[in-house]
Protein backbone atom coordinates (compact mmCIF):
# COMPACT_ATOMS: atom_id res chain seq x y z
CA UNK A 1 0.00 0.00 0.00
CA UNK A 2 2.84 2.31 0.84
CA UNK A 3 4.21 1.95 -2.66
CA UNK A 4 1.07 3.35 -4.30
CA UNK A 5 1.16 6.58 -2.30
CA UNK A 6 3.97 8.41 -4.10
CA UNK A 7 2.69 7.34 -7.52
CA UNK A 8 -0.73 8.82 -6.75
CA UNK A 9 0.69 12.15 -5.69
CA UNK A 10 2.92 12.13 -8.77
CA UNK A 11 -0.17 11.66 -10.92
CA UNK A 12 -1.57 14.81 -9.35
CA UNK A 13 1.72 16.56 -9.97
CA UNK A 14 1.28 15.85 -13.67
CA UNK A 15 -1.93 17.92 -13.69
CA UNK A 16 -0.30 20.89 -11.96
CA UNK A 17 1.66 22.28 -14.91
CA UNK A 18 -1.17 22.46 -17.48
CA UNK A 19 -3.52 23.74 -14.76
CA UNK A 20 -1.10 26.48 -13.79
CA UNK A 21 -0.57 27.53 -17.41
CA UNK A 22 -4.32 27.59 -18.01
CA UNK A 23 -4.97 29.75 -14.97
CA UNK A 24 -2.16 32.15 -15.90
CA UNK A 25 -3.40 32.49 -19.47
CA UNK A 26 -6.95 33.02 -18.32
CA UNK A 27 -5.75 35.70 -15.87
CA UNK A 28 -3.62 37.39 -18.53
CA UNK A 29 -6.61 37.77 -20.84
CA UNK A 30 -9.07 38.80 -18.13
CA UNK A 31 -6.69 41.50 -16.95
CA UNK A 32 -6.26 42.76 -20.50
CA UNK A 33 -2.57 41.85 -20.79
CA UNK A 34 -3.35 39.73 -23.87
CA UNK A 35 -6.12 39.70 -26.45
CA UNK A 36 -6.39 35.93 -26.96
CA UNK A 37 -7.97 36.06 -30.40
CA UNK A 38 -5.71 33.37 -31.89
CA UNK A 39 -5.02 31.67 -28.57
CA UNK A 40 -8.37 31.73 -26.80
CA UNK A 41 -8.49 31.42 -23.01
CA UNK A 42 -9.42 28.12 -21.38
CA UNK A 43 -12.89 29.40 -20.56
CA UNK A 44 -13.63 29.96 -24.27
CA UNK A 45 -12.28 26.52 -25.18
CA UNK A 46 -14.38 25.03 -22.42
CA UNK A 47 -17.44 26.85 -23.68
CA UNK A 48 -16.77 25.64 -27.23
CA UNK A 49 -16.46 22.07 -25.99
CA UNK A 50 -19.68 22.48 -24.07
CA UNK A 51 -21.50 23.88 -27.10
CA UNK A 52 -20.24 21.04 -29.27
CA UNK A 53 -21.26 18.49 -26.66
CA UNK A 54 -24.68 20.02 -26.15
CA UNK A 55 -25.50 19.87 -29.83
CA UNK A 56 -24.31 16.28 -29.95
CA UNK A 57 -21.67 17.20 -32.53
CA UNK A 58 -18.74 16.35 -30.28
CA UNK A 59 -20.06 12.87 -29.61
CA UNK A 60 -20.64 12.32 -33.31
CA UNK A 61 -17.10 13.42 -34.22
CA UNK A 62 -15.58 11.38 -31.41
CA UNK A 63 -17.47 8.25 -32.36
CA UNK A 64 -16.61 8.64 -36.03
CA UNK A 65 -12.91 9.09 -35.29
CA UNK A 66 -12.88 6.26 -32.73
CA UNK A 67 -14.67 3.97 -35.16
CA UNK A 68 -12.06 4.65 -37.85
CA UNK A 69 -9.17 4.15 -35.43
CA UNK A 70 -10.66 0.92 -34.12
CA UNK A 71 -11.32 -0.49 -37.59
CA UNK A 72 -7.85 0.47 -38.80
CA UNK A 73 -6.26 -0.76 -35.58
CA UNK A 74 -8.02 -4.10 -35.77
CA UNK A 75 -6.97 -4.63 -39.37
CA UNK A 76 -3.39 -3.39 -38.90
CA UNK A 77 -2.85 -5.28 -35.65
CA UNK A 78 -4.21 -8.50 -37.11
CA UNK A 79 -2.03 -8.35 -40.22
CA UNK A 80 0.98 -7.13 -38.24
CA UNK A 81 0.64 -10.02 -35.80
CA UNK A 82 0.21 -12.68 -38.47
CA UNK A 83 2.94 -11.46 -40.81
CA UNK A 84 5.21 -10.58 -37.89
CA UNK A 85 4.78 -14.09 -36.48
CA UNK A 86 5.64 -15.56 -39.87
CA UNK A 87 8.73 -13.42 -40.24
CA UNK A 88 9.82 -14.11 -36.67
CA UNK A 89 9.35 -17.86 -36.85
CA UNK A 90 10.50 -18.67 -40.39
CA UNK A 91 13.81 -17.44 -41.73
CA UNK A 92 12.61 -17.87 -45.33
CA UNK A 93 9.65 -15.57 -44.78
CA UNK A 94 11.85 -13.03 -43.04
CA UNK A 95 14.43 -13.00 -45.84
CA UNK A 96 11.68 -12.62 -48.41
CA UNK A 97 9.50 -9.90 -46.97
CA UNK A 98 11.42 -8.04 -44.30
CA UNK A 99 13.55 -5.85 -46.63
CA UNK A 100 10.46 -4.76 -48.58
CA UNK A 101 8.50 -3.99 -45.44
CA UNK A 102 11.40 -2.03 -43.96
CA UNK A 103 11.53 0.08 -47.12
CA UNK A 104 7.76 0.69 -47.04
CA UNK A 105 8.03 1.63 -43.39
CA UNK A 106 10.28 4.53 -44.35
CA UNK A 107 7.52 6.07 -46.49
CA UNK A 108 5.84 9.01 -44.68
CA UNK A 109 2.19 8.33 -43.95
CA UNK A 110 0.89 11.33 -45.89
CA UNK A 111 2.57 10.02 -49.02
CA UNK A 112 0.04 7.20 -49.19
CA UNK A 113 -2.95 9.54 -49.14
CA UNK A 114 -3.19 10.40 -52.87
CA UNK A 115 -2.67 6.78 -53.86
CA UNK A 116 -5.23 5.44 -51.42
CA UNK A 117 -7.79 8.00 -52.58
CA UNK A 118 -7.23 6.95 -56.18
CA UNK A 119 -7.51 3.30 -55.27
CA UNK A 120 -10.27 3.32 -52.70
CA UNK A 121 -12.13 6.60 -53.05
CA UNK A 122 -12.48 9.38 -50.51
CA UNK A 123 -14.79 7.58 -48.13
CA UNK A 124 -14.18 5.21 -45.25
CA UNK A 125 -12.17 2.49 -46.98
CA UNK A 126 -9.17 4.66 -47.79
CA UNK A 127 -9.15 6.16 -44.30
CA UNK A 128 -9.26 2.79 -42.55
CA UNK A 129 -6.54 1.51 -44.89
CA UNK A 130 -4.26 4.42 -44.05
CA UNK A 131 -4.71 3.90 -40.31
CA UNK A 132 -4.12 0.17 -40.75
CA UNK A 133 -0.82 0.95 -42.47
CA UNK A 134 0.22 3.05 -39.50
CA UNK A 135 -0.72 0.37 -36.97
CA UNK A 136 0.78 -2.48 -38.97
CA UNK A 137 4.47 -1.57 -38.76
CA UNK A 138 5.04 -1.29 -35.01
CA UNK A 139 3.02 -4.47 -34.45
CA UNK A 140 4.91 -6.31 -37.19
CA UNK A 141 8.28 -5.23 -35.83
CA UNK A 142 7.33 -5.98 -32.24
CA UNK A 143 6.00 -9.45 -32.91
CA UNK A 144 8.79 -10.49 -35.30
CA UNK A 145 11.44 -9.24 -32.87
CA UNK A 146 9.81 -10.91 -29.89
CA UNK A 147 9.56 -14.29 -31.61
CA UNK A 148 13.16 -14.10 -32.77
CA UNK A 149 14.18 -13.20 -29.25
CA UNK A 150 12.46 -16.05 -27.39
CA UNK A 151 14.89 -17.56 -24.90
CA UNK A 152 16.29 -20.79 -26.35
CA UNK A 153 16.62 -22.09 -22.81
CA UNK A 154 12.86 -22.00 -22.29
CA UNK A 155 12.29 -23.69 -25.64
CA UNK A 156 14.57 -26.48 -24.41
CA UNK A 157 12.40 -26.91 -21.33
CA UNK A 158 9.49 -27.47 -23.70
CA UNK A 159 11.56 -29.95 -25.69
CA UNK A 160 12.55 -31.89 -22.59
CA UNK A 161 8.87 -32.30 -21.76
CA UNK A 162 8.29 -33.36 -25.37
CA UNK A 163 5.76 -30.71 -26.28
CA UNK A 164 4.46 -31.09 -29.79
CA UNK A 165 4.53 -28.15 -32.18
CA UNK A 166 1.15 -26.79 -31.15
CA UNK A 167 1.80 -27.18 -27.41
CA UNK A 168 5.18 -25.49 -27.82
CA UNK A 169 3.47 -22.54 -29.47
CA UNK A 170 0.69 -22.04 -26.99
CA UNK A 171 2.44 -23.11 -23.80
CA UNK A 172 5.86 -21.54 -24.34
CA UNK A 173 6.09 -19.22 -27.32
CA UNK A 174 2.83 -17.28 -27.00
CA UNK A 175 3.26 -16.41 -23.33
CA UNK A 176 6.89 -15.54 -24.00
CA UNK A 177 6.01 -12.96 -26.68
CA UNK A 178 2.92 -11.61 -24.92
CA UNK A 179 4.57 -8.62 -23.17
CA UNK A 180 6.31 -7.43 -26.33
CA UNK A 181 3.11 -7.97 -28.32
CA UNK A 182 1.08 -5.80 -25.98
CA UNK A 183 3.70 -3.04 -26.07
CA UNK A 184 3.67 -3.17 -29.88
CA UNK A 185 -0.13 -2.94 -29.83
CA UNK A 186 0.12 0.15 -27.66
CA UNK A 187 2.54 1.92 -29.95
CA UNK A 188 0.39 0.78 -32.88
CA UNK A 189 -2.67 2.33 -31.28
CA UNK A 190 -0.76 5.57 -30.71
CA UNK A 191 0.21 5.69 -34.37
CA UNK A 192 -3.40 4.89 -35.27
CA UNK A 193 -4.45 8.15 -33.63
CA UNK A 194 -1.80 10.05 -35.60
CA UNK A 195 -2.81 8.49 -38.88
CA UNK A 196 -6.51 9.14 -38.31
CA UNK A 197 -5.82 12.87 -38.48
CA UNK A 198 -3.97 12.46 -41.76
CA UNK A 199 -6.88 10.35 -42.98
CA UNK A 200 -9.48 12.90 -41.96
CA UNK A 201 -7.51 15.75 -43.49
CA UNK A 202 -7.95 14.11 -46.86
CA UNK A 203 -11.56 15.09 -46.91
CA UNK A 204 -14.04 14.16 -44.23
CA UNK A 205 -17.33 15.66 -43.16
CA UNK A 206 -17.18 14.10 -39.72
CA UNK A 207 -14.54 13.28 -37.17
CA UNK A 208 -12.15 15.23 -34.98
CA UNK A 209 -9.81 15.75 -37.93
CA UNK A 210 -12.70 17.47 -39.73
CA UNK A 211 -13.18 19.72 -36.68
CA UNK A 212 -9.53 20.74 -36.98
CA UNK A 213 -9.74 21.57 -40.69
CA UNK A 214 -13.12 23.27 -40.24
CA UNK A 215 -11.75 25.36 -37.37
CA UNK A 216 -8.87 26.50 -39.53
CA UNK A 217 -11.00 27.37 -42.56
CA UNK A 218 -13.64 29.14 -40.47
CA UNK A 219 -11.07 30.87 -38.29
CA UNK A 220 -12.23 29.26 -35.07
CA UNK A 221 -9.08 28.62 -32.98
CA UNK A 222 -11.17 27.57 -29.98
CA UNK A 223 -12.63 24.73 -32.03
CA UNK A 224 -9.15 23.61 -33.12
CA UNK A 225 -7.95 23.57 -29.52
CA UNK A 226 -11.09 21.79 -28.40
CA UNK A 227 -10.44 19.07 -30.99
CA UNK A 228 -6.80 18.81 -29.94
CA UNK A 229 -7.77 18.40 -26.30
CA UNK A 230 -10.35 15.79 -27.25
CA UNK A 231 -7.68 13.91 -29.19
CA UNK A 232 -5.40 13.90 -26.16
CA UNK A 233 -8.17 12.62 -23.90
CA UNK A 234 -9.35 9.96 -26.36
CA UNK A 235 -5.82 8.71 -27.04
CA UNK A 236 -5.02 8.45 -23.37
CA UNK A 237 -8.32 6.70 -22.66
CA UNK A 238 -7.85 4.19 -25.46
CA UNK A 239 -4.34 3.40 -24.24
CA UNK A 240 -5.67 3.09 -20.71
CA UNK A 241 -8.29 0.60 -21.84
CA UNK A 242 -5.64 -1.46 -23.63
CA UNK A 243 -3.43 -1.47 -20.54
CA UNK A 244 -6.39 -2.44 -18.37
CA UNK A 245 -7.31 -5.34 -20.63
CA UNK A 246 -3.73 -6.61 -20.77
CA UNK A 247 -2.91 -6.18 -17.09
CA UNK A 248 -4.28 -9.51 -15.85
CA UNK A 249 -2.27 -11.26 -18.58
CA UNK A 250 1.01 -9.81 -17.35
CA UNK A 251 0.84 -10.07 -13.55
CA UNK A 252 3.73 -12.52 -13.66
CA UNK A 253 6.17 -10.04 -15.16
CA UNK A 254 9.30 -9.30 -13.20
CA UNK A 255 9.57 -5.65 -14.13
CA UNK A 256 9.56 -2.29 -12.46
CA UNK A 257 5.88 -1.91 -11.65
CA UNK A 258 4.08 1.01 -13.20
CA UNK A 259 6.80 1.57 -15.77
CA UNK A 260 4.65 -0.11 -18.41
Amino acid sequence: MKGSRPSRSFALAGVLLPLLLAVLWEAAIRSGLAVGRLMPPPSTIGATLWELAKSGELQLHCLTTLGRVLAGFALGALLGTIIGAGAGALVVVRRLIDPTLQALRAVPSIAWVPLFILWMGIFETSKVALIAVGVFFPVYLGVAGAIEGIDRKLIEVGQVFRLNRWAMIHRVMLPAVLPAWIISLRSGLGLGFMFVVAAEFMGASEGLGFLLVDGQQMGKPAQILAAIITFAVLGKLADGVLVMISKPLLVWQDTARGAL
Binding site: K153, L154, E156, V157, Q159, V160, F161, R162, A167, R171, V172, P175, A176, L178, V251, W252, Q253, D254
Partner: protein
Protein backbone atom coordinates in the same frame (compact mmCIF):
# COMPACT_ATOMS: atom_id res chain seq x y z
CA UNK B 1 19.66 -48.83 -16.54
CA UNK B 2 21.44 -46.20 -18.59
CA UNK B 3 24.05 -47.35 -21.06
CA UNK B 4 26.31 -45.17 -23.18
CA UNK B 5 28.13 -46.91 -25.95
CA UNK B 6 31.09 -45.28 -27.74
CA UNK B 7 29.50 -41.85 -27.61
CA UNK B 8 31.25 -39.10 -29.58
CA UNK B 9 30.25 -35.58 -30.46
CA UNK B 10 31.93 -33.32 -32.99
CA UNK B 11 30.28 -29.97 -33.62
CA UNK B 12 29.70 -28.57 -37.07
CA UNK B 13 32.67 -26.22 -36.69
CA UNK B 14 34.96 -29.22 -36.18
CA UNK B 15 35.31 -28.93 -32.41
CA UNK B 16 35.56 -32.38 -30.92
CA UNK B 17 33.64 -32.17 -27.67
CA UNK B 18 33.45 -35.84 -26.71
CA UNK B 19 35.36 -38.90 -27.77
CA UNK B 20 34.32 -42.49 -27.23
CA UNK B 21 32.40 -42.32 -23.96
CA UNK B 22 31.23 -45.73 -22.78
CA UNK B 23 29.49 -45.97 -19.47
CA UNK B 24 26.90 -48.00 -17.60
CA UNK B 25 24.90 -46.53 -14.78
CA UNK B 26 22.80 -48.93 -12.77
CA UNK B 27 19.23 -48.47 -11.60
CA UNK B 28 19.16 -46.11 -8.63
CA UNK B 29 22.85 -45.35 -8.95
CA UNK B 30 24.08 -41.77 -8.61
CA UNK B 31 26.99 -40.98 -10.89
CA UNK B 32 28.93 -37.73 -10.79
CA UNK B 33 30.95 -36.37 -13.69
CA UNK B 34 33.77 -34.04 -12.70
CA UNK B 35 36.45 -32.42 -14.80
CA UNK B 36 37.89 -29.13 -15.92
CA UNK B 37 36.08 -26.80 -18.25
CA UNK B 38 35.84 -27.96 -21.83
CA UNK B 39 35.75 -31.62 -20.97
CA UNK B 40 32.30 -32.03 -22.45
CA UNK B 41 30.35 -32.76 -19.28
CA UNK B 42 27.43 -30.58 -20.25
CA UNK B 43 27.55 -31.84 -23.83
CA UNK B 44 27.29 -35.39 -22.53
CA UNK B 45 24.19 -34.54 -20.49
CA UNK B 46 22.62 -32.75 -23.47
CA UNK B 47 23.17 -35.87 -25.57
CA UNK B 48 21.51 -38.08 -22.98
CA UNK B 49 18.64 -35.61 -22.61
CA UNK B 50 18.12 -35.76 -26.35
CA UNK B 51 18.71 -32.03 -26.82
CA UNK B 52 21.73 -32.72 -29.04
CA UNK B 53 22.47 -35.59 -31.37
CA UNK B 54 25.62 -37.68 -30.98
CA UNK B 55 28.02 -37.93 -33.92
CA UNK B 56 28.65 -41.58 -33.12
CA UNK B 57 27.63 -44.15 -30.55
CA UNK B 58 24.35 -44.95 -28.87
CA UNK B 59 22.43 -44.23 -25.68
CA UNK B 60 19.97 -46.75 -24.29
CA UNK B 61 17.69 -46.73 -21.26
CA UNK B 62 16.57 -50.22 -20.27
CA UNK B 63 17.48 -51.37 -23.74
CA UNK B 64 15.53 -48.66 -25.52
CA UNK B 65 17.59 -46.42 -27.80
CA UNK B 66 17.33 -42.70 -27.06
CA UNK B 67 16.98 -40.54 -30.16
CA UNK B 68 15.42 -37.42 -28.71
CA UNK B 69 13.83 -36.13 -25.51
CA UNK B 70 12.30 -39.12 -23.77
CA UNK B 71 9.63 -39.52 -21.11
CA UNK B 72 11.90 -41.58 -18.89
CA UNK B 73 14.66 -38.94 -18.84
CA UNK B 74 14.42 -35.74 -16.84
CA UNK B 75 16.90 -32.92 -16.52
CA UNK B 76 17.64 -30.07 -14.13
CA UNK B 77 19.64 -27.34 -15.82
CA UNK B 78 22.33 -25.12 -14.44
CA UNK B 79 19.77 -22.29 -14.22
CA UNK B 80 16.26 -22.90 -12.87
CA UNK B 81 14.67 -22.14 -16.27
CA UNK B 82 11.24 -21.68 -14.74
CA UNK B 83 8.56 -20.32 -17.02
CA UNK B 84 7.93 -16.86 -15.55
CA UNK B 85 4.27 -16.78 -16.62
CA UNK B 86 3.37 -19.90 -14.63
CA UNK B 87 2.97 -20.09 -10.87
CA UNK B 88 5.20 -22.41 -8.89
CA UNK B 89 2.50 -25.08 -9.13
CA UNK B 90 2.18 -24.51 -12.88
CA UNK B 91 5.92 -24.92 -13.30
CA UNK B 92 6.17 -28.07 -11.21
CA UNK B 93 3.22 -29.57 -13.09
CA UNK B 94 4.48 -28.49 -16.51
CA UNK B 95 5.22 -32.05 -17.58
CA UNK B 96 1.98 -33.44 -16.13
CA UNK B 97 -0.48 -31.91 -18.59
CA UNK B 98 -1.93 -35.32 -19.41
CA UNK B 99 -2.91 -36.15 -15.83
CA UNK B 100 -6.32 -35.52 -14.29
CA UNK B 101 -6.31 -32.21 -12.38
CA UNK B 102 -6.67 -33.80 -8.96
CA UNK B 103 -3.88 -36.30 -9.51
CA UNK B 104 -1.69 -33.54 -10.91
CA UNK B 105 -2.39 -31.25 -7.98
CA UNK B 106 -1.62 -34.02 -5.50
CA UNK B 107 1.70 -34.81 -7.15
CA UNK B 108 2.66 -31.13 -7.33
CA UNK B 109 1.91 -30.50 -3.67
CA UNK B 110 3.76 -33.63 -2.64
CA UNK B 111 6.87 -32.68 -4.61
CA UNK B 112 6.78 -29.10 -3.29
CA UNK B 113 6.57 -30.43 0.25
CA UNK B 114 9.58 -32.65 -0.38
CA UNK B 115 11.71 -29.71 -1.52
CA UNK B 116 10.56 -27.65 1.45
CA UNK B 117 8.30 -25.27 -0.48
CA UNK B 118 4.90 -26.30 0.88
CA UNK B 119 2.55 -23.34 0.65
CA UNK B 120 4.49 -21.73 -2.20
CA UNK B 121 2.36 -23.25 -4.96
CA UNK B 122 0.56 -20.03 -5.91
CA UNK B 123 3.67 -17.83 -5.90
CA UNK B 124 5.29 -16.46 -9.05
CA UNK B 125 8.87 -17.48 -9.86
CA UNK B 126 9.98 -13.84 -9.56
CA UNK B 127 9.01 -13.90 -5.89
CA UNK B 128 11.43 -16.73 -5.09
CA UNK B 129 15.12 -16.66 -4.25
CA UNK B 130 17.63 -18.42 -6.52
CA UNK B 131 17.79 -21.44 -4.23
CA UNK B 132 14.01 -21.69 -4.06
CA UNK B 133 13.72 -21.43 -7.83
CA UNK B 134 16.22 -24.25 -8.25
CA UNK B 135 14.21 -26.35 -5.81
CA UNK B 136 11.13 -25.78 -7.96
CA UNK B 137 13.16 -26.92 -10.96
CA UNK B 138 14.18 -30.07 -9.10
CA UNK B 139 10.57 -30.74 -8.14
CA UNK B 140 9.54 -30.19 -11.79
CA UNK B 141 12.02 -32.84 -12.92
CA UNK B 142 11.11 -35.36 -10.21
CA UNK B 143 7.36 -35.03 -10.44
CA UNK B 144 7.16 -36.98 -13.71
CA UNK B 145 9.05 -39.85 -12.03
CA UNK B 146 11.78 -40.22 -14.67
CA UNK B 147 13.91 -43.37 -14.71
CA UNK B 148 17.00 -41.30 -15.43
CA UNK B 149 17.55 -37.86 -13.95
CA UNK B 150 20.26 -35.58 -15.28
CA UNK B 151 21.62 -32.72 -13.19
CA UNK B 152 23.80 -30.14 -14.90
CA UNK B 153 25.64 -28.30 -12.13
CA UNK B 154 22.29 -27.34 -10.64
CA UNK B 155 23.77 -25.97 -7.44
CA UNK B 156 26.76 -24.10 -8.83
CA UNK B 157 25.20 -20.66 -8.54
CA UNK B 158 24.18 -21.09 -4.91
CA UNK B 159 25.98 -20.38 -1.64
CA UNK B 160 27.37 -23.21 0.46
CA UNK B 161 24.51 -23.33 2.99
CA UNK B 162 21.79 -23.36 0.36
CA UNK B 163 23.72 -25.98 -1.53
CA UNK B 164 23.96 -28.32 1.47
CA UNK B 165 20.23 -28.07 2.14
CA UNK B 166 19.48 -28.72 -1.52
CA UNK B 167 21.62 -31.86 -1.37
CA UNK B 168 19.34 -33.10 1.41
CA UNK B 169 16.20 -32.26 -0.55
CA UNK B 170 17.60 -33.98 -3.61
CA UNK B 171 18.44 -37.17 -1.72
CA UNK B 172 15.00 -37.15 -0.10
CA UNK B 173 13.29 -37.04 -3.49
CA UNK B 174 15.70 -39.55 -4.94
CA UNK B 175 14.97 -42.01 -2.12
CA UNK B 176 11.28 -42.07 -3.12
CA UNK B 177 11.61 -43.40 -6.65
CA UNK B 178 15.32 -44.26 -6.79
CA UNK B 179 15.96 -43.01 -10.34
CA UNK B 180 19.34 -43.35 -12.00
CA UNK B 181 21.07 -40.00 -11.55
CA UNK B 182 23.87 -38.57 -13.67
CA UNK B 183 25.11 -35.27 -12.35
CA UNK B 184 27.73 -32.85 -13.56
CA UNK B 185 29.57 -30.86 -10.94
CA UNK B 186 32.82 -29.02 -10.43
CA UNK B 187 32.54 -29.34 -6.68
CA UNK B 188 34.42 -32.45 -5.54
CA UNK B 189 32.78 -32.47 -2.11
CA UNK B 190 29.38 -32.31 -3.73
CA UNK B 191 30.30 -35.30 -5.87
CA UNK B 192 31.36 -37.32 -2.83
CA UNK B 193 28.32 -36.25 -0.79
CA UNK B 194 25.92 -37.47 -3.43
CA UNK B 195 27.48 -39.97 -5.78
CA UNK B 196 28.11 -43.71 -5.72
CA UNK B 197 30.68 -43.33 -8.47
CA UNK B 198 32.69 -40.36 -9.64
CA UNK B 199 33.96 -40.21 -13.20
CA UNK B 200 36.88 -37.85 -13.77
CA UNK B 201 37.01 -36.53 -17.32
CA UNK B 202 39.87 -35.17 -19.37
CA UNK B 203 39.31 -32.10 -21.57
CA UNK B 204 39.77 -31.37 -25.29
CA UNK B 205 38.32 -33.64 -26.46
CA UNK B 206 36.21 -34.82 -23.53
CA UNK B 207 37.13 -38.35 -22.52
CA UNK B 208 36.71 -40.47 -19.43
CA UNK B 209 39.93 -40.76 -17.48
CA UNK B 210 39.26 -42.44 -14.18
CA UNK B 211 36.31 -43.82 -12.24
CA UNK B 212 36.33 -43.70 -8.46
CA UNK B 213 33.77 -45.58 -6.37
CA UNK B 214 32.46 -43.94 -3.23
CA UNK B 215 31.21 -46.62 -0.87
CA UNK B 216 30.50 -44.49 2.20
CA UNK B 217 27.17 -44.96 3.98
CA UNK B 218 24.45 -42.36 3.53
CA UNK B 219 23.93 -39.79 4.90
CA UNK B 220 27.54 -38.88 4.34
CA UNK B 221 29.58 -36.98 6.86
CA UNK B 222 32.04 -34.51 5.41
CA UNK B 223 34.25 -34.96 8.45
CA UNK B 224 34.51 -38.76 8.20
CA UNK B 225 37.86 -40.28 7.36
CA UNK B 226 36.66 -42.03 4.22
CA UNK B 227 35.29 -38.77 2.87
CA UNK B 228 38.68 -37.14 2.96
CA UNK B 229 40.32 -40.15 1.37
CA UNK B 230 37.89 -40.16 -1.52
CA UNK B 231 38.32 -36.42 -1.92
CA UNK B 232 42.08 -36.77 -2.16
CA UNK B 233 41.81 -39.51 -4.76
CA UNK B 234 39.50 -37.43 -6.90
CA UNK B 235 41.54 -34.26 -6.58
CA UNK B 236 44.62 -36.21 -7.54
CA UNK B 237 42.90 -37.62 -10.62
CA UNK B 238 41.64 -34.13 -11.51
CA UNK B 239 45.16 -32.76 -11.28
CA UNK B 240 46.41 -35.37 -13.69
CA UNK B 241 43.48 -34.80 -16.04
CA UNK B 242 44.44 -31.17 -16.43
CA UNK B 243 48.13 -31.80 -17.09
CA UNK B 244 49.15 -31.69 -20.72
CA UNK B 245 49.29 -35.13 -22.25
CA UNK B 246 52.55 -36.58 -23.43
CA UNK B 247 52.11 -35.59 -27.03
CA UNK B 248 52.09 -38.38 -29.51
CA UNK B 249 55.25 -38.84 -31.62
CA UNK B 250 53.19 -38.53 -34.79
CA UNK B 251 52.49 -34.92 -33.95
CA UNK B 252 56.19 -34.24 -33.45
CA UNK B 253 56.86 -35.67 -36.85
CA UNK B 254 54.33 -33.31 -38.33
CA UNK B 255 56.03 -30.38 -36.62
CA UNK B 256 59.36 -31.38 -38.08
CA UNK B 257 57.83 -31.77 -41.48
CA UNK B 258 56.51 -28.26 -41.39
CA UNK B 259 60.09 -27.02 -41.18
CA UNK B 260 60.69 -28.32 -44.65
CA UNK B 261 57.91 -26.24 -46.07
Amino acid sequence: MLRLNGLSKTYADGTEALRDISLQVGKGEILALVGGSGCGKTTLLRLIAGLDVASAGAITVNGETIKGPHASIGIVFQEPRLLPWLTVAGNVGFGLADLAPQERQARILHALEKVGLAGYDQRWPRELSGGQQQRVAIARAFVTAPKVLLLDEPFSALDAFTRASLHDHLLLLWAETKPTVVMVTHDVEEAITLADRVVVMRPRPGRMMETISVTLDRPRDRLALGFDKAKRRILHALDRSLQPEKSAPAQKGADNASHWW
